[in-house]
């Protein structure tokens, strides 16, 4: 069900989710999620497989249409706020047959960004070489994840939605990515990150959100000792 901006409570500066329900047939992936998230903070979403983390992220990105409930991103619907959102999914969202630079040049055009300078800049920012001519399909998994992050930040969005960015990435590269994300948060970006490796983000994230059975079970500013990624 799509919702017009007029039906959404004005909530500039925050991301709010009101009674969000998302059903796939008879299965409810989200069961009435109610939450407000402060802008400019680093929110880490944790939970078991099937808890609804990815569905929540896709709903915030405007890819999953709520069955019921509303989402307000900086006072707009996700579709209206699409220029402010950068989305990194579990798959790379990149064309395997093209090089990283060719991919980013194409996606830059979708945001009315022309020329090579911005794609080159973000590729260097994620620690890759813009001159790399081999196709993305021949990249290592870690390089693909970095290039996928580069695509998500290409248009300098205010909000970053990252779905398991550290999966299949070695610990050194993952720590580098965390450092990069910390820098972005410090620069005022709002980050939502779904992961099973919450320990990497201890001391960096502003909030840990535990999801369970399609609902938010707990929110905390720190990981409970010994709990790490397990739900409370």
């Amino acid at each position: 069900m799509s919702v017009s901006a007029s039906e959404i409570p004005a909530a500039n500066g925050i991301i709010s989710v009101c009674n969000l329900i998302k059903q796939f047939g008879r299965f409810a992936a989200l069961r009435g999620v109610d939450a407000e998230f402060a802008a400019g903070k680093f929110h880490v979403i944790l939970g078991d497989n099937g808890a609804g983390k990815t569905t929540l992220l896709r709903a915030l990105a405007g890819l999953a249409h709520p069955t019921r409930g509303t989402i307000s991103i900086l006072g707009k619907t996700p579709r209206e706020a699409c220029r402010e959102i950068g989305y990194m999914a579990h798959p790379s969202l990149l064309y395997d047959e093209m090089s990283g630079m060719e991919n980013l040049r194409y996606f830059a055009r979708l945001y009315d960004i022309s020329g090579n300078s911005r794609p080159e800049q973000v590729i260097r920012l994620v620690g890759l070489d813009p001159e790399l001519s081999r196709p993305v399909g021949k990249y290592s998994q870690g390089m693909r994840q970095r290039m996928s992050l580069a695509r998500a930040i290409l248009h300098d969005p205010k909000i970053l939605l990252l779905d398991e960015p550290f999966s299949n990435v070695d610990i050194h590269s993952a720590r580098e990515m965390v450092g990069l994300l910390k820098g972005m948060r410090d620069a005022g970006k709002t980050i939502f990150l779904v992961t099973h490796q919450a320990a990497l983000l201890e001391g960096v994230a502003d909030e840990f959100v535990w999801m369970q059975a399609g609902q938010i079970a707990e929110r905390s500013s720190h990981l409970a000792p010994g709990v790490r990624t397990e739900r409370p």
Binding site: L63, A64, C82, Y95, M98
Partner: protein
């Protein structure tokens, strides 16, 4: 250049680059059409006079089936790595994507027609008795009719389990008026017995109506889950 056409051209050149590197659709279409031509020649072995009456139907049936191969490929590459989601979250217009895909398929199918038409002429010993130049608008309008609906229905069947089967099931019934017009116009031009004018106008009307409908509905199809 407006943002719409800039994105359309960027998507079109990206698709042409990808097709040039993989040649997935073009190779499949060429082999398929070649097979159809050869099988029909051995099956019918027609005289020149008979050919003029049946070849319009054979040509367009061959191109219709071959086009389906290309149409399925167009969207298949957008599904790998869920690249289509990157487009869906962007502010780019849905119709930019649609127009780029239609133009890409139009170029591919036109290229196939240009390569296969001489083979039909040679194998069926064809000589055009009517105004041959009219074959150009028939080919352009007929190809557009196939690819505009084909691209739309291929996008519609993207998320279905058996999309290769769904596309012809959706496309062929809707294409019947266009196919009848294409075949009748081609036959009239080849035999010179009647004017093809009526069928050319019919094809033009069909193209305008279905292009408008597809453009009006494509955003819904793209944003559907």
């Amino acid at each position: 250049m407006s943002s719409f056409w800039s994105i359309t051209l960027a998507t079109l050149s990206k698709d042409i680059r990808l097709e040039w590197r993989s040649k997935d659709a073009l190779n499949a279409m060429l082999f398929f059409s070649l097979l159809v031509v050869v099988i029909f020649v051995f099956s019918f072995d027609p005289l020149a006079e008979e050919s003029r009456h049946i070849v319009g139907g054979l040509v367009w049936v061959a191109f219709l089936f071959a086009a389906v191969v290309a149409l399925n490929q167009t969207w298949a590459r957008e599904l790998r790595n869920q690249v289509l989601d990157a487009y869906r979250v962007s502010p780019a217009s849905a119709n930019s994507l649609f127009v780029a895909k239609v133009l890409g398929n139009f170029i591919l199918v036109s290229l196939l027609e240009a390569l296969m038409a001489p083979l039909f002429v040679v194998f069926y010993n064809l000589r055009v008795l009517g105004p041959a130049w009219q074959l150009i608008p028939v080919a352009l309008l007929g190809t557009w009719a196939l690819v505009v609906n084909g691209t739309f229905f291929a996008a519609m069947s993207l998320r279905t389990r058996s999309r290769e089967l769904m596309l012809p099931l959706l496309l062929f019934p809707v294409s019947i008026p266009a196919v009848i017009s294409m075949v009748a116009a081609t036959t009239n031009i080849l035999t010179g017995e009647d004017s093809a004018h009526f069928y050319i106008v019919l094809l033009l009307t069909y193209d305008v109506v279905f292009t408008t409908a597809c453009l009006a509905l494509f955003e819904t199809v793209l944003q559907a889950e």
